[in-house]
Symmetry: C2
Subunit: 236 residues, 2 copies
């Protein structure tokens, strides 16, 4: 039985958000996991989110439907090719084509709506300013500005009953530190999925930006990425 304060946790099904869900629980919150079906090409992400929510004991897992394809503009939601690299050093320094316009802003807005409905003042998001792959909406200054806006947007904020806080426990961690923290909390990373370009069977490609950053993180803690081991055991 969970009796902690409710918190909304944004859950993509990837390594980072799985770790965040485990941290929210370890911090004593009752996590409500929120994922999105946003016109992405791979439902394998949502399957992973569902496995992770179950394995880490979310009180509820909601998948909200939003369709960003009506606007176009990104490899994750339209038909621009995902870039592949052999080595992490080849990652482009500028913002990658896998950028989705306003994605975190939209995701946080839904989290805000659910938090208000739950009378929760806590939202968790796995943004990371180090391995952030060039997304502007993963930086601390963005998150603080969002929090400030959110506290002017809601009944609870205006009435002074609640101060909404956006928790970003990974924001200053390297991928290796995130993995270490998650392993300590019992996260089974074989359940997670981070790849931008999986094969038809849902297996990670190993060479997109997201796979390369994971691989390097696991290598730094002396492990192999379980998502890149052929035929991973999915038993949670």
């Amino acid at each position: 039985m969970m009796t902690g304060k409710p918190a909304v946790v944004l859950l993509s099904g990837g390594l980072d958000s799985a770790t965040v869900l485990a941290i929210a629980r370890a911090d004593g919150y009752t996590p409500y996991a929120l994922s999105f079906r946003y016109g992405q090409r791979h439902s394998v992400e949502l399957d992973a989110a569902s496995r992770v929510a179950d394995a880490l004991g979310a009180a509820k897992h909601v998948v909200a439907d939003i369709d960003l394809r009506v606007f176009g503009g990104s490899a994750l939601t339209s038909d621009i090719a995902v870039p592949h690299h052999e080595r992490v050093e080849e990652l482009a320094a500028d913002i990658p084509v896998t950028y989705v316009p306003a994605r975190n802003t939209i995701f946080l807005s839904f989290a805000l709506a659910w938090a208000e409905t739950l009378e929760s003042s806590d939202v968790f998001i796995g943004v990371n300013a180090l391995d952030y792959s060039g997304y502007p909406d993963c930086r601390p200054e963005y998150v603080r500005a969002y929090e400030q806006m959110a506290n002017l947007a809601t009944k609870a904020g205006v009435e002074g009953r609640q101060h909404l806080r956006i928790h970003t426990p990974l924001i200053e961690l390297t991928k290796a530190q995130i993995i270490q923290r998650g392993l300590t909390l019992g996260v089974d990373y074989s359940l997670t999925h981070s790849c931008y370009d999986p094969d038809p069977a849902g297996r990670a490609c190993g060479t997109c930006d997201s796979c390369l950053l994971r691989r390097r993180g696991f290598a730094e803690v002396g492990l192999q990425d379980p998502a890149l081991i052929p035929a991973p055991g999915l038993a949670g």
Copy 2:
């Protein structure tokens, strides 16, 4: 032919947003109208948005699907009864049950995504701080905080190429002043729909908060609300 800078205009199909669309055009922008199917009970709103977008010459009208019902929490998206009153003085001073959690925050986030895709730095929204019916996310301080956050969220903002501006041309106007401005710009208010609780044929009830505010506005300029005249002429 429209050659103005593109601007995203949030269009509910109501009196306020129709006026905003007319103002955006009059200010020289090419308006891209954005509406939402968000689990509201009345599709009559979207029919009105479509009529208004056509009549006022939007370059494009997109209806984005979002389903806030997954979170519950409001008369507009769940089954709490909409309150009715005979006179505007009876409106509750506190935030009404028709409040939708984080609605404007979500709507602006989608507008931001579309603006980025259009390489537009202008979003128009018909919020109003006087007749705002108690919604916290209709106040100037909220809008400024949103703008600040948005400029930290996007590629264009981070790279200093564009400063996103959220235009709120109605924010300090009374309902009567909004109507006067719209009539000057040729808005046909018989096309609009603002009612929270229309009858099965889509006709406005005349006694919900939204209808009462409209009625008073039209009365103040010496007119009858065309949405409350039986069998209104819908020819645009």
